[in-house]
Amino acid sequence: MKGVRHYPGFMAVTVGCLVVLYAPLIVVMAYSFNGSNSITQWGGFSLHWYTQVFTGPEAPRFGQAARNSLTIAALASTTATLIATAAAIAMVQGAPFRGKGATFALINLPLMVPEIVTAVATLIFFSAIGLTTGYFTILIAHIAFCIPFAYLPIAARLEGIAPSYEAAARDLYATRWQAFRLVLLPLMMPGVAAGWLLAFIISLDDFIITNFVKGAGIETLPTAIFGAVKQGIKPNIMAISTLMLAVSILFVTLAWFINRKGHRTP
């Protein structure tokens, strides 16, 4: 006899759901190894399109876009993580204060406003203060919307750390800074690392806001891919997509393991 929690067909839906989620990605991965020039016919396994990505006529363009994407993601996620860590310490560890609710709403603002509205507002802001759109404007826009993504795992981690650890360190004559650096920071590190990874992926993923504030003459990987896809899906795009997919999955897997490790040691 199966328990009351069992519902016939629910497993089939779950498996079907996973098939729908993964089928497009697997198909694109498979076709990126296609030896044929056509995207419809299978011409045997080949790494042709991967060599095209690095040496083909479009290589400089996508190479520059990849460098922009990666440096922006690294700078934006690092800055956002530092800002979010400071905020999380004040929000979670400190006593309640006036304006705490408003601050919390402010941190979550980038999550609540639709992305396209953020994009429009940011473009208008840069235009109103006369800032020329380019690498710098993309970077600071990314820092803003990465903060809540970095904040959430850090705050969640901090909530699980009793204030008594830091208090014990202070009782043993540690300075405030020592207590933070030697006790609190190591304890909250899994949250900080997970927050940084999520912010990095979110920055790498962004298309809409980047597309609005990038200005002419600079591309990130998503905007370069979007431009290329408008003229049809070519095999080199599939190779680039597969490489980005691999990076994303690597990062998420890392975040997952860091999180799990974090859960085991209090």
Binding site: V13, C17, L21, A87, G94, A95, I124, P222, F226
Partner: protein
């Protein structure tokens, strides 16, 4: 007050960055929606209701007829709301059984199932949407597969349909539905189901009468988390849809492209979209507040 100073120092970067880069821009956008458009894109600093007038009212081709309601943009909003609602329903119908199934696995395998569901979400949204288009296009692998199985004779025209857009939105935001429902189901007390079974309720009666009301907060949260981003989505309608599936995101995007654009109108459309979203979020917040 060392504590207050410390707190201010810690929070100052957040206030400054999000305040300057989110809050002020949104307020400025509200101002821009009441300005006069400049023809090369951008604005003239002169008060005008032209943007909202263009959105809601029409005065005929030459502007000399009495004002009547302009349906073009209201219809685009209506269509977007409809598309987002259908995508939300699709997510709910697939997401609820999935969340239930995962939450009733043994704890050790739950994490793996959850991981499998969330991994695609972290893959670049653009790449996911392009992959979906590649799979379902007219002479794509899906149609070839169905033809090879002799299930269909001619390729199914999926791309550029409403269904493709809904599928794209489903694909974009499914984990947002699964995760809150999962969290609610995980806290669900199975004793309730056992009590219902003892009283001769069938599984499906129990589901309808007991489980759904209990996990409703999770379902509502999931629906909002899918509906809100779907409403302003740009990539799925733009890549998977055509002229007939034009949604709010594309309408806004158009207003900021080159010399054809109209910044005050784009800002006004964004204001209407943001107002809609805030109404949905406020209803949710009030419902949550009254439950506590």
């Amino acid at each position: 007050m060392a504590d207050t100073r410390r707190r201010t120092l810690l929070l100052l970067p957040t206030w400054a960055v999000i305040g300057v880069l989110m809050l002020i821009p949104v307020l400025l956008m509200a101002v821009y929606s009441f300005l006069t458009k400049e023809f090369r894109g951008g604005v003239e600093w002169q008060f005008s209701l032209a943007a909202y007038d263009q959105f809601f009212l029409t005065r005929g081709l030459f502007g000399d007829e009495p004002a009547a309601i302009e349906w073009t943009y209201i219809n685009i909003f209506w269509r977007s709301i409809w598309q987002a609602a259908l995508a939300t329903l699709l997510c709910l119908m697939i997401g609820f059984p999935t969340a239930w199934f995962i939450a009733t696995r043994p704890p050790s395998s739950r994490a793996i199932w959850l991981f499998l569901i969330t991994v695609p979400y972290w893959v670049n949204l653009l790449i996911r949407t392009v992959s979906l288009k590649f799979l379902i296009r007219d002479n794509g692998p899906l149609n070839e597969f169905l033809i090879a199985l002799n299930l269909i004779d001619n390729p199914l025209p999926l791309v550029n349909t409403n269904l493709a857009v809904q599928l794209g939105l489903f694909y974009s935001y499914l984990p947002f539905m699964v995760l809150p429902i999962y969290a609610a189901v995980e806290r669900y007390d199975t004793a309730l189901s056992e009590a219902a079974a003892d009283l001769y309720a069938s599984r499906w009666t129990t589901l309808r009468e007991i489980i759904l009301p209990v996990v409703k907060p999770g379902i509502v949260a999931g629906c909002i988390l899918v509906f809100v981003p779907s409403l302003g989505a740009f990539l799925a309608p733009d890549l998977l849809g055509g002229a007939k599936t034009f949604m709010i995101g594309s309408l806004i995007d158009e207003q900021f492209r080159g010399s054809q654009g109209n910044w005050p109108f784009g800002a006004a459309v964004s204001m209407v979209l943001m107002t809609l979203v805030l109404i949905v979020l406020m209803f949710h917040a009030r419902a949550q507040g009254s439950r506590r």
